[in-house]
Symmetry: C2
Subunit: 339 residues, 2 copies
């Protein structure tokens, strides 16, 4: 920067102002400085800028890279940030090392704002973190004071899925979900979906059939397969998200069954769900919109336009595809042969 200042015959301060196009620079000076910048191929060091001002980076913490729904969120955020002077820095969690440590890593790097997705970070911890920098949490329905949230209406989405299956005549509807910490009140997406499932089955006088699985794809598959082979009375599965649902489809296929025998409905509407070979009925929660909205909320805070919390909620929509079909008693109709 000193070089640029010398080349243009001005002071460092002036160069700084031109870069930030701050108030108080004459046109003559601006042109000279910009010419010098061009000529020397000067690029400001973000690290140095970050010490006094901002880093022009916004951090996006995600617990898991393999999840297509999270990918949609990332895409929405990245697209919304395109053309701005900010760069999106995505920091993935790795196995157990997820959530708070990753968020701290990003905060240590002086990002100007932070988007968090990990459901297991506690609200109290996030409130503290949000005292230091703007934070948006995606997914959890927190009643936060210092940070914003972007959620979808998991209760409504679950109702859409279950009402759809009931309308098709299903009564033995299982719910496959992730193992999770108990929480009161439920605020994570999967806890809310589970709760809503429990309420709806109870209201309808149906027996709840709940199966829990871990994160590893192999475990999900094993649990799905065990569930499908253990109880032939089940005619439909509502899966906590599409990746689980697709594991159910895999288990069905491997057992020589199909969605004619067992209907499957997922949640998220990941891209592959719409593929004709998969054709998964699901609830869309518009991941790209969520990512984009998170950036917008963050920018409002970064620019100082807003200091009070906002809780933005998306209305999910049902996508009916081939994996949900009218109920048949499976024990009667199934053929046990591959089609």
């Amino acid at each position: 920067m000193d070089d640029v200042a010398k080349a243009a015959g001005v002071s460092k301060g002036a160069v700084s102002k031109v870069i930030r196009n701050a108030y108080g620079v004459s046109d003559a000076m601006r042109t000279r400085v910009e010419a010098a910048i061009q000529e020397l191929g000067y690029r400001p060091r973000i690290a140095a800028r970050a010490m006094r001002g901002s880093s022009f980076s916004i951090g996006l913490e995600i617990p898991n890279l393999g999840n297509d729904f999270l990918t949609q969120i990332m895409q929405g955020a990245a697209a919304r940030l395109a053309g701005s002077s900010y760069q999106l820095m995505i920091a993935p969690g790795i196995g157990e090392l997820s959530g708070a440590p990753v968020l701290e890593n990003l905060a240590d790097r002086q990002v100007d704002g932070l988007i968090a997705i990990s459901p297991e970070v506690t609200p109290a911890w996030l409130e503290t973190l949000a005292l230091e920098l703007p934070v948006v949490l995606i997914g959890r329905h927190d009643d936060s004071v210092n940070y914003d949230t972007v959620t979808n209406d998991d209760v409504a989405g679950t109702r859409l899925a279950l009402d759809h299956l009931r309308t098709l005549g299903h009564e033995r509807i299982a719910h496959l979900t992730m193992r999770m910490q108990p929480e009161t009140p439920p605020r994570t997406p999967h806890a809310l979906r589970l709760l809503t499932y429990e309420q709806m089955t109870s209201d309808a006088g149906l027996e709840p059939i709940i199966e829990y699985c871990g994160d590893a794809p192999d475990d999900v598959y094993a649990v799905a397969r065990e569930l499908m082979s253990r109880d032939p009375s089940i005619t439909a599965v509502f899966a906590g998200h599409d990746t689980l649902a697709i594991s159910v489809l895999r288990a069905l296929a491997d057992l020589g069954l199909s969605t004619r025998h067992v209907s499957v409905v997922g949640y998220d509407d990941i891209p592959v769900a719409g593929h004709p070979l998969v054709s998964l009925s699901t609830v869309s929660q518009f991941g790209e919109t969520m990512g984009a909205k998170a950036i917008e909320l963050l920018m409002e805070r970064i620019s100082g336009k807003r200091t009070t919390a906002r809780h933005y909620q998306i209305h999910p929509e049902l996508r009916v595809r081939g994996s949900s079909q009218a109920a048949h008693s499976r024990s009667a109709s199934e053929s046990r042969t591959r089609s």
Copy 2:
């Protein structure tokens, strides 16, 4: 840091040494300082550290978030970095804004090392960039001097796919690939696959059938569908990568055809390829290993263990699944009805 120094009754320099566990600190001092760090919950600011030393961040540039193969690379890199003091910062390209600008953004943020995936960045530019910081390029077979490369043997992989189809009796084998800049010699994965396809069809006396598509999923689908409906003599498609292959499967399904009529082989072995409903034959290039290897090469340079370029090449393997079947003349056998 001043606070910590005061609390421990030592100098800033001493605290710094403890943090970096540098040479020349007594045990007594270390314990006192560590206690103070604990007590005050002190966390060093990376931005300040970056000004003098390193940022403990390594940058990963990817052109596109929606590509499952790139996701595998990211996962491999993230996993390999787990437990180290480095944080992976993934910077996605957005639409046109990809490649060089994103790499510059990362370099401006003083990352300690950089992994690049964009094929369109020129070798000359990368050589210059690699003068400033360690760089590993994934995918392109450059004969680089200042940066390392991680590639898979695209020629061998293409041979695996095409030999497989030939063995199944196919002679009308189309190749669906991405539109790309001409380059001499070919160094990008898709250019090499195309070249190998051209050589093999020529050697076998077969007519080359080459179809180009853009990046947008809709365009890929349209091209695939047009190809499938235009020329019924085609009995097999070798797609440049799995996502293209899956679009071909979609087009086939929508046309009332299946892989009994047209065999499809992809490249990458993305997770969904192994799903029984998709069952895509493909060439695995072990994306996770590539990502992990890139981190390893980078770390060797960051630690100063190595300064000469390495070009690491992975041996691809064929994964035979249901989408490749013995050739039938499609015009004779097809039924044009949905099954």
